[in-house]
Symmetry: C2
Subunit: 245 residues, 2 copies
């Protein structure tokens, strides 16, 4: 299925290979899958490795976070199995990926925050989706950087980082080696931009075609900032990417 | 996080409550999560239940299917834990959801196909995403119906159902109680349409806002049919929904 048949495409000389996803309970499933799925399709053409890293090897649940109102009597959850623990992660993560979810705001995320704090200096890139920026902000790694997050959860998330240059409107923001996406589905646009940057336009066009994703190409195209009455701040425009070789 | 604060909204008198997802190895993660995540957000307001149904209770893997070319030396997989087996499913599924994935075309899907064949008559709605339509077609439940699927995988999938009115262009198609989405990301548009039909516009607007999804509202808006040179066939327009009470 995933033999895209493209004979050649532009490729950075030393593209990222090893992706690590920070897992914590009450994560948002689509925050993870929006990036993992396009990378999975890419992994048939490029040597890519995926690690799912959590506090323990027990299944990690998408479910209502402690303190969330969940009064409708639903039983709606799903669990994913980690491959590594925060105490024993893979040694060679190129890209650390931090999803959002209710657990970011209502759960005990201290283990995930600590892991991001001590791991960020060793990785080449950090990508956050949605309220995952709140985890990165608590870890202090966004200090002094431009970053964005979910506009609906804006006030809660930005309170995690007083020294962050929170940027709105913005569908995503790149500052140095940190890529921050806005709400859930914007993460799909970000991973396409990321893949195009490092693996070239041709393969990304094929993956876009296979997933039928109508990409947003302009990082400033963010109707949800106005919908959520988030005041303009910062500069959403892309700057030249830093390539950490 | 998920208290949307909407006091009331239009609601069908007997909306679907119980969602069952058919799981099989080499599924596409985003096919599942594109629907599961918006429904999860809805589940804080509406009583909704989720079952993940597979041949056994062992973890089900997103990974290259047998026979797929996967020569890049990658190690890129993820596993989800089922809650029920095909032999012992929940008795009261309102909505049966069938995702796609490489396993649809290269794996042994006979258990999933059999389950869809015998379960469809008992459910109120069937939703397929991407090549999930191929599983439904093999089960025979699309015979005589209009349906669509991933345009990139079009030829392979339509060969599974000679008596299906395969429809292109179409981002999605509704015929009777069967909703079929096109490629992966179109499933997000379909679940929003489905939620709006049964749970009302107000809550769906809030969930769209929280997920920052730029919806496609027109089921005929399908640029990927032309991209993939799929000849026009059938009628993509929506017909009045059948409400199975």
């Amino acid at each position: 299925m995933y033999n895209f048949g493209c004979s050649q495409y532009k490729l950075q000389s030393n593209p990222p290979r090893n992706f690590g996803v920070v897992m914590y309970n009450s994560f948002d499933l689509l925050d993870i899958s929006g990036s993992v799925e396009p990378l999975f399709l890419l992994s048939s053409q490029q040597r890519l490795n995926l690690s799912l890293i959590a506090e323990t090897l027990e299944p990690v649940h998408m479910r209502p976070a402690p303190g969330e109102s969940y009064t409708a009597g639903s039983h709606f959850q799903l669990s994913i199995n980690p491959t590594h623990t925060f105490a024993d992660p893979p040694p060679d993560i190129d890209v650390l990926f931090v999803p959002g979810g209710g657990g970011e705001r209502f759960g005990d995320n201290s283990a995930a925050v600590d892991f991001v704090r001590r791991t960020y200096p060793k990785v080449r890139y950090l990508i956050t989706v949605c309220t995952g920026a709140g985890v990165a902000a608590q870890a202090g790694v966004l200090d002094g950087k431009r970053a964005t997050t979910n506009k609906w959860a804006w006030k809660d998330v930005v309170s995690n980082g007083n020294n962050v240059q929170w940027t709105s409107p913005a569908r995503w923001v790149v500052d140095g080696n940190i890529w921050t996406a806005s709400g859930v589905v914007s993460g799909i646009d970000v991973i396409f931009e990321f893949m195009e940057t490092f693996y070239g336009e041709e393969i990304v066009r094929l993956i876009q075609n296979a997933t039928e994703h109508k990409r947003t190409y302009d990082p400033c195209d963010d109707p949800f900032a106005a919908w959520n009455k988030v005041p303009p701040s910062g500069d959403c425009r892309l700057t030249p990417y830093l390539h950490h070789e």
